[in-house]
């Protein structure tokens, strides 16, 4: 070991590093992004959960109680309902996370000290369940003995045992598809560029559209195989119940696969080496995993983070797959997220085709 030799290698390495602008950008960009995401976006104190109240008693006491509940800031009203059945429908569709049922004999129950209020929780998100339980412990009004503290029952739907595997496995399908497919497609195209194959390909009559579709089709198969593996293991090892239809599960997976593949194509038009493509895919993957609601509750994030999350395909997939697998919803009921994924795909594909020219300049 000679210091001079080590130094020579080190200087060479630093020079090469500084010349690759993408790597330098990533070195600074990744810690910055991580810090911002973890620091601002990740908040386990969930607030502003969408909720609805089915007030069957309709007394002034029940109305006052409802107002108190919303005043906590933990829940916000999004819809008016009349029956507990309507609440269940809204929960299944994912339009509300929490439903509150005030029984018709609310006043009597309150005086008798029995359970006077039922909070129905969407258990497909475990952090929401925890929040609902906190809500049940809150002293709801300061009117001394008439308080309903301890008289609230919590009814978690869809994952009553609060098993995290049930919560994690469906979303994991999306995480795996996002992690692998964006990178696979991006690298597959950039590899042709890097090895010089593309210069030959673009002198043949193959059109850019044919080239792109032909390159991504095999990866749809790859994505479906990955989905099946996670699903089988999830059901077999972790006893994840599939409450919705398998068609719905694969439909949702297909939507995410295609969205990720088109994103990969777009990355490939921007990257010039496989290493760059990998870095870019990783850079896009970070916010997906942190903001999509897979790891941390979507409802706890500030609006900027929520807005970014709405642009990420994984966010919509996590909503879809939890809806289908855990809540037994159909894709039709979850149409806003289906639409979001389709729109993402169309935009990405158009951008990729626009950016990809059958020319070298």
């Amino acid at each position: 070991m000679k210091a001079r030799q080590i130094f020579a290698v080190m200087v060479k390495e630093l020079r090469q590093m500084a010349r690759d602008r993408m790597t330098v950008a990533m070195m600074l960009g990744i810690p910055t992004l991580q810090l911002l995401l973890f620091g601002y976006a990740i908040n386990l104190d969930v607030r502003n959960l969408p909720a609805a109240v089915a007030d069957l008693s309709g007394t002034s006491g029940s109305r006052a109680l409802t107002q108190d509940l919303f005043a906590t800031g933990v829940i916000r009203p999004v819809a008016g309902v009349r029956t507990p059945q309507e609440l269940q429908t809204l929960l299944r569709k994912g339009e509300i996370k929490i439903g509150i049922v005030i029984p018709s004999d609310f006043e009597r129950r309150r005086i008798d000290g029995r359970e006077a209020l039922q909070v129905i929780v969407d258990g497909s998100d475990t952090s929401v369940q925890a929040t609902a339980r906190q809500l049940a412990q809150m002293p709801l009004d300061g009117r001394g003995p008439s308080s309903v503290q301890g008289q609230i029952s919590v009814l978690p739907l869809y994952n009553p045992e609060r098993r995290s595997a049930v919560n994690v496995v469906p979303g994991l399908i999306g995480v795996i598809l996002t992690m692998t497919l964006v990178m696979f497609t991006a690298m597959a195209i950039v590899r042709e560029k890097e090895r010089g194959n593309l210069e030959l390909l673009i002198t043949t009559p193959v059109s850019s559209g044919e080239l792109m579709v032909g390159k991504v089709l095999p990866y749809i198969g790859v994505g479906l195989v990955q989905t099946t593996v996670v699903l089988l293991l999830g059901v077999w090892l972790f006893k994840v119940p599939i409450n919705g239809s398998l068609w719905g599960v694969y439909g949702a997976a297909m939507l995410l696969i295609v969205a990720n593949l088109t994103l990969g194509l777009l990355v490939s038009t921007a990257a010039s080496t496989q290493f760059q493509a990998m870095q870019m895919a990783f850079f896009l993957f970070l916010p997906s995993i942190l903001l999509s609601g897979f790891m941390f509750p979507f409802d706890g994030m500030p609006w900027v983070a929520q807005w970014i999350a709405e642009v990420l395909p994984l966010t919509h997939f996590v909503r879809l797959i939890r809806g289908v697998v855990l809540r037994g919803a159909s894709l039709l009921e979850l149409w806003p997220d289906v639409l979001a994924l389709l729109a993402f795909t169309v935009v990405m594909m158009s951008l990729a085709i626009l950016r990809f020219h059958k020319r070298l300049d």
């Binding site: 090895r195 010089g196 194959n197 210069e199 030959l200 043949t204 009559p205 193959v206 020319r359 070298l360």
Partner: protein
């Protein structure tokens, strides 16, 4: 297809130019390439050979100038042209992780060969390019010469009328180069027009016509014989006992363009045909250098040096 006589023009370019930022890669090149000929682009690295070829097949958009290839306006009709040309890149651009046969099958399909003709065409190519016993070998594991043959077979799988070859032999040994050129003449014989770039003089000498490019300009074009005849009387051989010393002295002599040492002899290129031989003899004698001076036959390298020299002088002026 109607048979054409060799006089009709396959590629016609006027004032072809390409600028990359501040760099003028190709500068006002005019070209006429006749059908069924082997047309060579001769020039050093960076002289604009690749850029010109890429513009001619529609891969790069010219900054200025007009191109007509096989009667099509380029780059506007580049898509249509792609079915009728073959292109062999400087770097091996077939798939190294596919076998020889798989590569040819892929190219035959994207070039639009009907299914029933694909198999027979591939067999024909495997035979003609000595690849039959390597059909199942991965392309990446083959030698430079074998890759070259495969790339050529791939470029002509659809029997193009016009074939572009960008320094096809830069990575192969001399024997493979010779074989490769035999294949090119076979193709030209069968009616294919071939445009090939090279920086080897011996390859340029084999072409029917050549164009010499230097720093993006066309500095000479014609048949190799015409070009060398144009230098008659301007090349002089000098045999001196101290060649290095003689060479150094000759650089200072008036009318000398270049002096190159070939073995023990010096090869001198002059700017005038008449009287140079005796003037050089006088010059060397006056410097006290003993030398035997006599005229020699010009070759293509002299043409190249002379052409690029006048190009530089024109630029300096």
């Amino acid at each position: 297809m109607i048979p054409h006589e060799s006089s009709d023009t396959v590629i016609r370019a006027r004032g072809l130019s390409k600028r990359f930022g501040v760099m003028q890669a190709v500068d006002g090149v005019d070209l006429n390439v006749p059908r069924s000929s082997v047309y060579g682009f001769l020039g050093p690295n960076g002289s604009g050979k690749s850029t010109t070829i890429r513009m001619l097949c529609g891969l790069l958009t010219p900054s200025a100038g007009e191109i007509e290839v096989l009667g099509l306006k380029i780059p506007q009709q580049a898509e249509e042209l792609r079915k009728r040309i073959g292109y062999m890149t400087q770097k091996f651009s077939l798939y190294e992780d596919l076998t020889v046969r798989e590569n040819l099958e892929f190219l035959a399909t994207v070039q639009g060969l009907p299914k029933d003709r694909r198999r027979s065409r591939i067999e024909e190519l495997l035979g003609a390019y000595n690849l039959a016993d390597r059909a199942r070998q991965l392309a990446g594991t083959m030698s430079g010469g074998q890759k070259q043959r495969l790339a050529l077979a791939g470029a002509i799988v659809h029997k193009p009328e016009l074939l572009f070859l960008d320094e096809p032999t830069s990575a192969v040994d001399p024997e493979s180069r010779r074989d490769f050129w035999e294949k090119l003449f076979d193709l030209a014989d069968a009616g294919t027009t071939i445009l090939v770039s090279t920086h080897y003089m011996d390859e340029a000498e084999r072409c029917h016509r050549i164009a010499i490019l230097d720093t993006g300009r066309l500095v000479a074009d014609g048949t190799p014989a015409d070009l060398t005849h144009g230098l008659a009387g301007r090349t002089i051989g000098v045999r001196a006992s101290e060649p290095r010393k003689a060479q150094a002295a000759l650089h200072a002599a008036q009318g000398v363009i270049s002096v190159a040492q070939v073995g023990n002899d010096l090869r001198v290129l002059t700017d005038a045909a008449a009287g140079m031989e005796s003037r050089l003899r006088e010059f060397l004698r006056s410097r006290g250098i003993e030398a035997d001076v006599k005229p020699i036959e010009p070759n293509l390298e002299d043409v190249f040096v002379s052409a690029t020299h006048s190009g530089h002088k024109a630029q300096a002026a």
